[in-house]
Amino acid sequence: MKKLCAVLAILMFIIGALPSLAQDMMDYPSDMTACEIDLTGETINIFHFGDLSGPNAFITQPLVAAVTDAMSYWNSRGGVCGAELQQIYEDTGGNLESTQSVYDRFTNEYADELDLLLLYSSNDGELLREQLAEDEIVSFISAGSIESLYGEDGQTPGWLYAGNPLYINQFGFFCQFVAANPVAFPDPVIGFVTWPGAFGLAGTEQAADDYCAGLGVEVLDEPQIFLPTDSDILTQVQNAIDSGANIIYTNTLATGPALIAGTLVDLGMEDEIQLAGVNWVMDTSVGILGQRVLKPNGLPAVDGMIGSMPYLWWTELSSPAVQFVMQQFNANNRSPAEQNIAYLVAWGVVDSIIETTIRTVNAVGSLDAVTGADIRPIVESMDYEVLGGLYRFHYEEGMRDGVLNRIAVLKYANSTMSGAATGPDDALLIDDGAGGKLFVPIVVPLSDFMEVPQLRG
């Protein structure tokens, strides 16, 4: 563990700690609504639960760290409008029975206080969709499925609000990108190689296939599915290639993209097949885990992988939002392994919860009087730059997911940190603490933020 921490500490230092450390502690970057009601002596609870020890734990655990740090930040400065922040959370291990049982307990024990709930996964969102509506509890979620956000018919907005665009919309956005770059992607055929479940299969809808076909991008009918425990996915990857895929798209994270990329290298197809995926494939964990296999040019197998990036990234230090989170990350001596998507975005989620609460309390007159039914119209009327620009919080006209996205590519830094390496000779390599070297992953945007297509049918 020490070794990993050392490596990631160096990595973190390189990708941005230095500029931020050189500055004084920043002011909070959000342009928040002023408090009209004094909440001194009261407590604002941040309720959340989800998979902290199951298959998605390596993504979700830093979320708790970020919420903890954000609470400390606010409480050490007198709280929110004087009220102390407190988090109440539970680990469900990714088990839906546990999700239900925790939800039941929360709604019983905190019947008067639970008006706003943070969830992590699409599966939990689908399970609780109807119950949240019945109990009138507003829920924020990172990226929900169509069913969780809009119901089985895809047309009934519920009480869940996602920060990221729907995965299906991210996929449609990717098709736009492919169609707009015919030189890079002549005769594009996309095959899904992905995990099972609501998350893994979220982009494999007929509406997305039709949309992409309209852009001249063919999508293979049959997704190739593998499990996070699979050690060999040659069969799935070859199935996709044999069916004509020259682009492989994946709704996986951590080892998932790394395994696909490694398999492509094993098959000698790394230059012929473009690997792409949902926003989670751009995470730090993929950049590190993807170094197990090197391409013939000496760079890691995941080098050149394309993915969605609907928010800013750690390397975009020109943004006050990123600078601020980086400062807080360092100030709290967080483990470098926690410097992932979840930590960054969770600061944004806490910011949006606070802003929502302030606006609702201002409208209602007191914290005790706030109900989910009061929060809902506030959420739907907001147009708010989370943390002053990390992402946009805006749910107008029945929208329940984010509308802005961009495409980025995972690369590895060159030795001068002025761009991407072209090979191991000009790559920035850091000691991995065990006699080897590690490349430093960077994320390079390939497009500006643009609206995603709406494909939920």
Binding site: M1, K2, K3, L4, L52, S53, G54, P55, A57, F58, Q61, P196, E222, P223, Q224, I225, F226, L227, P228, T229, D230, S231, D232, L234, T235, Q236, Q238, N239, D242, A254, T255, A258, L259, G262, D266, L267, G268, S285, I288, L289, Q291, R292, V293, L294, A337, G433, A434, G435, G436, K437
Partner: protein, 394 residues
């Protein structure tokens, strides 16, 4: 008609099974007919090699079952713990002396007190304990990158023995003489405890375990490409080296255990214990010691499997689920058969891969095919392919 059916019920049942099997084979044949020979060969290779790893995991479960009659649901988490301990010693260049000494001392104490805590009252045993702990500590803390394998193997060995002995001592031993089902439930509890311990000790971040890395290139071993057969097969087939290593290790483990159970007194005692613990105790067999050895051995096997799986895909809490996928292999081969574990593992591995080749989108390979095969085999041989036939008179 009814009389005909009643009179020939057995034959008719078999006829239905035979027709179903023929239909299944025709369906599979049809699905495979359009595939290139290279894909068939590749699928067979992948299935065989992945099946070897399944066999190794199955072996750990079977060893416990063979000696104690307990189906160990904690095996997956023993894999995770073993893999994590290995990782700690393999990737950390400076091992904490105090931490290593603590692990070594705890392991030696557990070994030396297997029969009785009073053993420590003897000066000779105390000296052995101290000496063993010192030797293990030195091996685990030897410095330098060039010794990482020695450190890791010693650490994983000590950790596995400690885990196995602790599980046996504090959870299984108190249940000797109790119904087997109680012990089975206990293994479920042990699984959750190990889950929690793993989370506290190593967190939940995915860890890279570079055991299959070529030191020359700092990349995973390049696969063996069957370029010479490309023309004949109509495409390329490859063999992944790390899976070959895992397969060979599995084979060696099997050979070792077959010989162990057949030709050593401890192995024979284990088999006797599995038949009836109280009877075995009454004829002078040290059931406690035998069970302790069994659990230590199973934990060691789990560690090997954890390292192999972690090296292939990365170390995370997810690898515990591999044990769940292996359960059909254990049942298929026969709950107490060493050979059955290997054969069952390989069959399930191949069936999974061919199921995936035919239809990956509906997860036929992982969710359906292994269980259909298991069902068919159990109908014909209720004790599994190599299981011992037991007749209970009622």
């Amino acid at each position: 008609m009814t009389e005909f059916i009643n009179r020939n019920r057995r034959q008719l049942t078999w006829l239905i099974y035979a027709l179903a099997a023929i239909a299944l084979l025709l369906f599979i044949g049809d699905q495979l007919a359009g595939k290139k020979a290279a894909r068939i060969v590749q699928t067979l290779i992948s299935g065989l090699l992945v099946g070897g790893v399944y066999g190794l995991v199955a072996l750990g479960i079977v060893v416990i079952n063979k000696a104690s009659g307990v189906f160990n649901f904690a095996h997956g988490w023993m894999m995770v713990v073993g893999g994590m301990i290995f990782w700690s010693f393999f990737t950390v260049s400076e091992i904490s002396f105090a931490g290593a000494a603590l692990l070594a001392a705890a392991t030696m104490l557990m070994i030396m007190t297997t029969v009785s805590y009073r053993n420590l009252l003897e000066r000779r045993n105390l000296l052995i304990t101290a000496g063993g702990a010192l030797a293990l500590t030195l091996l685990m803390t030897v410095g330098g990158i060039e010794w990482q394998w020695l450190r890791a193997l010693t650490g994983a060995f000590a950790g596995a023995i400690l885990t196995g002995l602790a599980v046996e001592r504090f959870t299984i031993r108190p249940l000797i003489g109790q119904p087997f089902f109680t012990a089975v439930l206990m293994t479920l509890a042990v699984a959750e405890v190990l889950h929690g311990v793993t989370q506290i000790a190593w967190g939940t971040v995915e860890l890279n375990l570079p055991v299959f890395v070529d030191p020359q290139t700092n990349s995973r071993f390049k696969p063996i490409r069957l370029d010479g057969l490309r023309e004949a097969l109509g495409g390329l087939a490859i063999i992944r080296v790390e899976l070959v290593i895992a397969f060979v290790l599995a084979l060696l483990a099997f050979i070792g255990f077959i010989l162990f159970f057949r030709y050593t007194s401890v192995g024979l005692a284990m088999r006797a214990t599995s038949e009836d613990q109280q009877l075995a105790q009454s004829v002078g067999l040290r059931v406690r010691v035998i069970l302790a050895i069994t659990w230590a051995v199973a934990a060691f096997l789990a560690s090997i499997a954890g390292v192999l799986q972690g090296g292939a895909v990365g170390l995370s809490l997810n690898i515990s689920f591999v044990a769940l996928r292996v359960f059909p292999a254990v049942l298929l081969g026969g709950l107490e058969s060493i050979t059955g574990a290997l054969v069952g593992g390989i069959i399930i591995g191949i069936v999974e891969q061919f199921g995936t080749l035919i239809n990956s989108s509906e997860q036929v390979g992982t969710n359906l095919a292994p269980y259909v095969v298991l069902m068919l085999v159990l109908v014909i041989r209720p004790d599994g392919l190599f299981g011992e036939k037991r007749i209970e008179r009622i």
